[in-house]
């Protein structure tokens, strides 16, 4: 029980830390604002997980990461911040879903929790790996191809949306 709890608390902390570190080169006011707003949002999200606060905290973290990218903050730190924000959001909601004592044996509950942590680690680890590989292997692509790729992405999103609706 100690490890999941540590992970749950460490993720928002690391998310905030990455943002603060990313903005360190800037004015201290912005650093404090980014750190305080993200930290407070995640603290509130942990306190009231049944409300839209976890989503708000997640959006605030993503928004700060995106703003960091525009403000020439270190990309890797912003990516890490987003990764931890995603993990924090997932874990807050997961913890909340298990809070009303599901009908199951203790062994099944533990197995389910393990499966969830494993899936989350796999998803985010894989995502990070793709990002890191993508950033290491630099390929020069023209804007038109990027545009086409984006269109393909939109097309995929549309398909996913339809699949979800079905």
């Amino acid at each position: 029980m100690l490890l999941p709890r540590t992970i749950r608390l460490a993720c928002p902390f690391l998310c905030t830390l990455c943002l603060v570190a990313g903005y360190a080169a800037h004015d201290w006011g912005i650093v404090a604002l980014a750190g305080a707003s993200t930290g407070l949002a995640w603290w509130l999200a942990h306190k009231w997980p049944a409300t839209p606060l976890p989503l708000t905290a997640f959006i605030i973290s993503i928004a700060w990461s995106a703003a960091g990218l525009l403000a020439s903050a270190p990309v890797l730190l912003m990516i890490l911040s987003t990764t931890f924000a995603l993990a924090s959001w997932d874990l807050v909601l997961f913890e909340h879903s298990l809070a009303d004592k599901p009908i199951s044996s203790a062994a099944t509950c533990a197995l389910f929790q393990n499966r969830h942590y494993r899936s989350l680690a796999l998803a985010l680890g894989l995502g990070l790996l793709i990002v890191l590989v993508g950033r290491t292997i630099q390929v020069q692509i023209s804007f038109i191809i990027i545009g086409l790729l984006v269109l393909l992405a939109f097309f995929s999103i549309d398909h996913i949306w339809r699949a979800l609706k079905e």
């Binding site: 839209p52 989503l55 959006i59 993503i62 990461s65 995106a66 990218l69 525009l70 990309v75 912003m78 990516i79 987003t82 990764t83 995603l86 997932d90 909601l93 997961f94 879903s97 298990l98 009303d100 599901p102 009908i103 199951s104 044996s105 099944t108 509950c109 197995l111 389910f112 499966r115 969830h116 899936s119 989350l120 796999l122 998803a123 985010l124 894989l126 995502g127 990070l128 793709i130 990002v131 993508g134 950033r135 804007f143 990027i146 545009g147 984006v150 992405a153 939109f154 999103i157 996913i160 949306w161 979800l164």
Partner: protein, 425 residues
């Protein structure tokens, strides 16, 4: 809000930001979200692989009002995968959950089973379940699949019975079976009725020896008033227009409870009782006796709900021919404008009628506003009701203007007391 949709929106926004700012780094952030979403999709359970079995059990088929009823559903995972389920039972009208929840999360390994339980109470009603809803999702809760698992059960909650103390009832016409109602005819009762000349076959213990002594060569027999049973029809008005719901209890519930209590008392006295519920599709219980008949009546009362329909604007459409002529008809109705004409018809057919009218205005008092307009409207409605009641009273029909917080038994006893009936006739 659906988690997957939120993620899709964020991915879309990041891609748009990358396109607008010509900054490819935004795509890396979007890619992370895509990886999370993709993993969710890959791990979402296929409906073909999920094999769940549900069995519902309820303690009894029928129960009395305000008894705690436990509903339990056993879910067995017959598939091979570990599943996370959100089980939910729709909360039916009239249910008051006492313990547990109607929505519960369950985690089931292959071959494992879990029991989903909750208890509820109800004033009255017929509760039926066909399925239980199970929502299955991937580990991240992104893709949710809803399944309806067959799990049938039903239970009827009979209305609460207030046991009325029996009272002597004078009916215009009785049925020729031994009962408790004096039939105004000589026979084998307990009250002295008269003396007549002896007929061969009369029991010797009934001979009036004094009169015989005074008249030599003649014998006289004492007669007692025959006690028979009455034919009683109950009519319950289930029009939504005459009903008012305050909190969890409605005026109709009081009327249904009164009907059940009257039926119980009349049947306990040995009378023949029938029931007709005035709603879109008439619910009726044909005349009968005893506990079985009481059960039939309670079953019918448990099922009915007030209904609104334009065809139910007046009591005039009520079929009265299911009641034997000259029988006693007890109508439980809060009354609507123009209903009095139906009572005229009943009297014309020769029925003996009693009207119990739950007072809608008195019941609605906590909801009524105190401003001048409302007071005026209330006064007008009260006058209209009073006129309606007066018109019915002029037909020699006893009317009980019943405020539902009053005990009904003394009012009915007073309205049906023999002297009153005799005077009215």
């Amino acid at each position: 809000m659906n988690k997957a949709l939120i993620l899709l929106f964020i991915i879309f926004s990041l891609l748009l930001a990358a396109l607008l700012t010509h900054n490819a780094d935004f795509i890396w952030l979007a890619l992370l979200c895509c990886a999370y979403l993709g993993m969710g999709f890959l791990q979402s359970p296929s409906t073909r692989e999920i094999k769940l079995n549900a069995t519902r059990s309820v303690e009894k088929d029928t129960t009395n009002a305000l008894t705690t009823i436990e509903v339990s559903v056993e879910i067995t995972n017959q598939g091979a995968a570990l599943v996370q389920l959100v089980l939910s039972d729709p909360r039916q009208f009239g249910m008051s959950i006492k313990d547990g929840q109607t929505t519960q999360t369950a985690l089931l390994q292959a071959g494992e089973n879990a029991v989903f339980k909750y208890t509820f109470q109800s004033e009255r009603g017929s509760f039926e379940w066909k399925t239980i809803r199970a929502k299955i999702s991937d580990p991240f809760g992104l893709i949710e699949t809803e399944l309806e698992l067959p799990a049938e059960a039903k239970i009827q909650v009979h209305p609460e019975l207030n046991k009325f103390r029996p009272f002597s009832l004078r009916s215009q016409r009785t049925l020729h079976s031994a009962g408790s109602i004096p039939a105004r005819r000589g026979g084998s009762g307990t009250d002295f009725w008269g003396v007549r000349e002896y007929h061969p076959g009369d029991p010797l213990r009934r001979l009036d020896w004094r009169l015989t002594a005074r008249h030599p060569h003649k014998f006289f027999t004492k007669e007692f008033e025959q006690e028979e049973i009455a034919d009683i029809g109950l009519i319950l008005d289930a029009r939504q227009k005459t009903n008012l719901q305050i909190g969890e209890v409605s005026l109709f519930e009081h009327a249904a409870r009164a009907t059940a209590s009257l039926a119980e008392m009349f049947l306990r006295q040995g009378n023949r009782v029938s029931l007709l519920v005035y709603q879109r599709q008439y619910a009726s219980v044909f005349p009968g006796y005893g506990k079985l008949q009481l059960n039939r009546i309670l079953h019918t009362l448990a099922r009915i709900m007030p209904e609104s329909d334009s065809s139910l604007n007046s009591l005039n459409f009520l079929p009265t021919r299911m009641f034997a002529s000259h029988s006693l008809i007890v109508i439980i109705s809060p009354l609507m404008s123009g209903d009095w004409q139906f009572f005229r018809r009943l009297r014309a057919y020769g029925y003996q009628v009693l009207l119990i009218s739950p007072d809608l205005l008195a019941y609605a008092r906590p909801l009524l506003s105190t401003d001048l307009d409302s007071q005026l409207a209330t006064r007008l409605t009260r006058l209209e009701r009073q006129i309606e009641i007066n018109q019915i009273t002029q037909l020699w029909i006893p009317v009980i203007d019943w405020q539902v917080n009053q005990p009904l038994a003394p009012l009915v006893r007073n309205a049906l007391r023999p002297t009153r009936i005799r005077r009215e006739r």
